[in-house]
């Protein structure tokens, strides 16, 4: 299933799509977007790459295993909730840095939580898609 058109397009599209997914993640707090949809976009991008270049290539550019993405995402989300415990606040209270950062904007534990959601959703979709593709 190799197509020159697809593999040429994906080479341009992949970085754009991944960048877009991060963009969605970061703007989620104030504009439409968020970790869930960002993760889905990232997963779609990598799936497209896998369709064009094969599952092996997709695993190569992923570097980590989708299962590790899921675990990392879950730990990140959980960790964002645990951080406030160390400061004597209830589980999952939002903590914010006092000043805005360039590009990222106002940063706090909810963003970390959203990052966890992003990683987990991307990992989940990729785990299913890639293992189905490998079957062939």
């Amino acid at each position: 299933m190799s197509s020159i058109i697809l593999s040429t397009t994906i080479r341009l599209l992949l970085p754009l799509l991944l960048l877009f997914s991060v963009f969605l993640l970061l703007r989620g707090h104030n504009e439409p977007g968020g970790g869930f949809v960002g993760g889905l976009v990232a997963a779609a991008a990598i799936s497209l790459y896998a369709l064009a270049e094969g599952v092996e290539a997709a695993h190569r550019i992923l570097i980590v295993n989708p299962r590790q993405l899921i675990a990392g995402g879950l730990l990140t989300a959980l960790g964002s909730g645990i951080i406030p415990l160390f400061l004597g606040r209830p589980f999952q209270s939002g903590l914010w840095l006092p000043h805005s950062l360039p590009v990222l904007g106002h940063v706090g534990t909810p963003l970390l939580f959203d990052l966890g959601v992003y990683l987990l959703v991307a990992g989940m979709a990729l785990l299913i898609v890639l293992s189905l593709m490998e079957e062939e």
Binding site: L24, G28, H29, N30, E31, P32, G33, G34, G35, F36, V37, L40, V41, A43, A44, S47, L51, P66, R67, I70, A71, G73, L74, A77, L78, G81, F91, Q92, G94, W96, H106, G108, P110, L111, F113, D114, G116, V117, L120, V121, G123, M124, A125, L127, I128, V129, S131, L132, M133, E134, E135, E136
Partner: protein, 767 residues
Amino acid sequence: MLLAVLCGFVAALFAPLGFRRFPLWAGRFAPLLPLGLFLFFLSHIGPVSRGEPVVVTAPWIPSLGIDFALYLDGLGMLFALLVTGIGFLIFLYTPAYLGGDRRQGTLFAWLFAFMAAMLGTTLAGNLITLFVFWELTGLCSYLLIGFDHEAEGSRSAALQALLVTGGGGLALLAGFLLLGGVVGSMELPVLLASGDLVRNHPLYLPILLLLLGGAFTKSAQFPFHFWLPNAMAAPTPISAYLHSATMVKLGIYLLARFSPVLAGTELWLALVAGVGGLTMLVGGILAVLEHDLKRILAWSTVSALGILTLLLGVGTPAAITAAILLLLTHALYKSSLFLVAGALDHGAGSRDTRQLGGLARRMPWLAVAAILAALAMAGLPPLFGFITKESIYAALFLSPWEPLLLTGLMLAANGLMVTVAVITGLGPFLGKGAPALAAYHPLPPTLWLAPLLPAALGLLLGLVPNMVAPLLLRPAIAVVQAAPVNTVLALWHGFNFELLLSAATLVVGLLIVLSRRRLLALLPASWQEGGFTQDGGFVLLLRALLRGARLQTIIVQNGRLRYYLMATIGVAMGSMGLTFLESGGLPGSLAWPSGYLHEWLAAGIIVAGALTVTVTDSRLGAVVALGTVGYGVSLVYILYGAPDLAMTQFCIETLAIVLFVLVLYRLPLFTLLSTPVVRLRDACMAAAIGGLMTLLMFYVLAQPLVPHVSDFFLANSLPAAHGRNVVNVILVDFRALDTLGEIVVLAVAALGVFGLMQSRRSDGEGK
């Protein structure tokens, strides 16, 4: 004190590592912890014996008002000293007994944890603390019985003990909750002071039955007595510790602890004394029919627990005094006899009473320990057991309820005890040496020292009983009786009726010993070998439960996805439809909607897609049409101002189509397999759920919206959570816990899919 109770758990954490790195030194240091705790509790004995309990409270779950409370009074002190004192002997004995088994560390970890759990249970200051530790002891018992987990017998015995005591634990929890509700407090001091309230409450009967359920299962009372002998599958030090000296006494502890609250009614007398009496006889009779040392001791433990229950059931001051004395005596002589049995097994290679004999010359110190313990068990002067037995007779003879019957039964039970004492304590050491003992080897010193210490203590206490009476026994009796007492113990009471009964007991016991062989020969051949289990009913019940579960699984979980789907939809439809009918149908009238052209187009796309899915005869076509429905829905989201939803829906649809295509790729060609009737049924089902959902939407839209929740989110999103996108702020901040739950579900689902794919792949490779 908090630290004293919990340090066992800490030690349990480090035990496996310690024993792996320094097997020798870990074994030498391990007994120091129980010894230290023993001395620690001993240091509190002054105030406690003056009737001033030590109370420690630490917040545990403050939001529910639950504290971690410890309450050290006379009864708790007696148990704490027993647990740590016997614990010291067991910890001293186990390393030599196991002889460098590589799983020693694990065993010690469970033992440490068990000791901590026992201390927690007996020193608990409220019902919640008590229950949690109670269950922990059961769990440790499960792990320790199943220590030899490669043997089928150990595993099933462990499971049996867990199920029986765990079931009792559930009853106990229910009883505690009722009791706490009636009194209005879970705290022990408050509970102990509200006996009259509880006894006159309409819920007294269920509370009593549930608490007794917990106590009787834990202390192996009839008809739950069967699990204790099976628990002998554990290594012998474990049996000595858990299943004779401490854990099985928890039921007795519970009865004693709640005596001031529950005792004193006819029902208590009948139930507790009745069950105790029955257990005492059943245990005694079965004990003399066995040949394995450990099983004999196990059945005699059941019998002793029955005597304790009987005495607490009678509940007079004299009976309570006798019960507390027996608690101490029994712990001392029974742990000693168990340790002797373990040492015999270790040194002579057998536990069969028919093979052991004449070992006194080869194992002199062990013989001294065994004979002292056996004499205490038989209740001979000048041992503490004699004082105990005299006080039991004195209590029963003055019992307000059937004194003659009870004394007669006790005479029989004690006679059987004498027999057991002769068989287990004297038999292996006296008489002719049996020929089949080629495996004999000398014992390491701790193996005879550990049984000798409690046996010698039994002698010491018999000679100077008033050494411990005012400090240890009197406060415990006072707690159970809820009144101060002035018990004075004496070895010699003069020539009285109790002495006569003691002599009669001895005669009865010796008569049984002498005629035992002839009596055994009269029994059916299948009974001659011993090994009575008494768990037929339990096994049948368990089997019936499994069969029921299997049947129910076949009906409910038949493995066909479409039936699951139909059941889910059917239930949803039924419950929604009923609610809908009850609410009186649609409010108001439905007007024909006036929409813009593009809205009608979006609706048209959705309907056309849905219709195509149902009639197409190509799988790919169906998938694409389904995708069209999804895109149409996201179009609707965009039109009505929900870009977040639309975006997510769009991505989901795209990925879903990819997944569908990947799956469908491997399916066989599309063939029509369903009959017209089935298709009609499916169509009806689909139409019904679709119609119902539509009605529901109309119904919901006709209701006025409850504004304050969304108003709150809108108002607080920016100031409290620094975000303008309210949907996302709700997801990651206001309701982040929900989201966390959802992503956990996602992760589990993905792992499930992955697991299925992996198993398919390995199946393929296997073929």
